[in-house]
Symmetry: C2
Subunit: 219 residues, 2 copies
């Protein structure tokens, strides 16, 4: 991969140029085309040519704006992730101050909503993660954020004496966060065994509560 022209050292790390003037519109057109096409078919069935044509330019010109198809999708995912991070902060405030059940429900609901509202992008992220290390890294950071927050909440509840001891808080957090990811993904794709859109949060909240606050002493 030869240098991406010299240019200014890209404000965003994603490798697309700074972009100015009319080129800005083109760049937006590419991103919008990508989002539009992702509503229709999976990432693997979208070519660079599709993106270029959709944005009204030729394939080589596409490469003037983005170094690859993956870079386009990563830019889109970046935005989704940023939006979801805001949701997370909101949710944590609510959780920190009070009622566990209501707070947790609100938190998981916001999170679910953030991805539900951009279903196609969420699915593309999962697809890209399979083949693209950068996407893997990005998603890792996202997961790590939620795990850290969740672990902190669990620790706090245990210290407060409202939650009983058990598995290490971080381990519990990892499993719960990963459960949410998988269950939500299944719901989005409506794959074979999956939870209904309107049941998924009830079930997840219940498991979180039992895992965090419950003790299981089967007779």
């Amino acid at each position: 991969m030869p240098a991406v022209s010299k240019a200014k050292p890209a404000p965003n790390g994603r490798g697309r140029r700074a972009a100015r003037a009319s080129g800005d519109e083109r760049e937006r057109a590419i991103l919008e085309t990508a989002e539009r096409l992702l509503e229709e078919r999976p990432l693997s069935e979208i070519s660079v040519d599709d993106l270029a044509r959709g944005a009204g330019i030729s394939r080589p010109t596409f490469y003037f704006y983005f170094p690859s198809k993956d870079a386009v999708v990563l830019t889109i995912i970046d935005r989704l992730v940023a939006a979801a991070a805001d949701s997370r902060e909101e949710a944590l405030k609510m959780l920190a101050a009070g009622e566990p059940r209501a707070g947790l429900r609100q938190a998981l609901e916001d999170l679910y909503g953030a991805f539900r509202s951009r279903r196609a992008v969420s699915l593309a992220a999962a697809e890209l993660r399979m083949t693209n290390p950068e996407a893997r890294e990005l998603w890792s950071q996202v997961m790590e954020g939620w795990v850290a927050d969740t672990a902190a909440v669990i620790e706090a509840e245990r210290t407060r004496g409202t939650a009983p001891p058990g598995q290490p808080a971080r381990d519990l957090a990892i499993a719960l966060v990963q459960m949410n990811e998988r269950v939500q993904y299944a719901t989005f794709t409506e794959e074979a065994p999956s939870l209904d859109e309107d049941r998924v949060l009830d079930v997840l909240v219940d498991i979180w509560l039992r895992a965090i606050y419950g003790t299981a002493e089967p007779s």
Copy 2:
């Protein structure tokens, strides 16, 4: 796709011919090459040519034995799934008769082991699921099997009075089974936040027990 010669109507539905004599060895060679290469790199970085050369034949000859790279991997996954299904039956016997904690632990351990012992194939299955409908369908059936069994166990425990009521048994089962899939996948790939090989079962068993047998009444 023109008819696969006429031949006998393939014993297996996967679309490869019945194969006889020396062709049998070739077919095995292809499958073994695929498994070997999957230990080294992801499915997306293996070409039909790699498989052909690995089996000592040319690319066109490969197509005499399998209609595509995907078909090879599906055949391999088929076998893994069959082996795992055996594990499942074993595990259920143990669960049906007695101690929930020990039984459940044993069940999840067997399941984990079945996929752990063929880590590369398990990861390839996950990768293929993203792009191949047939792989998706196959995996769906696998998940459905475990969900059905798990739901049955939960129902039974509730009827026996050993487990309290709660979310519908099937919904609970779906979330738990999907959690296991995701958590185990993360452990296999050692991705960013993931559970240690030797902690993963402790954590999963604990969550299952709390989700099934526990009630959560946060103060």
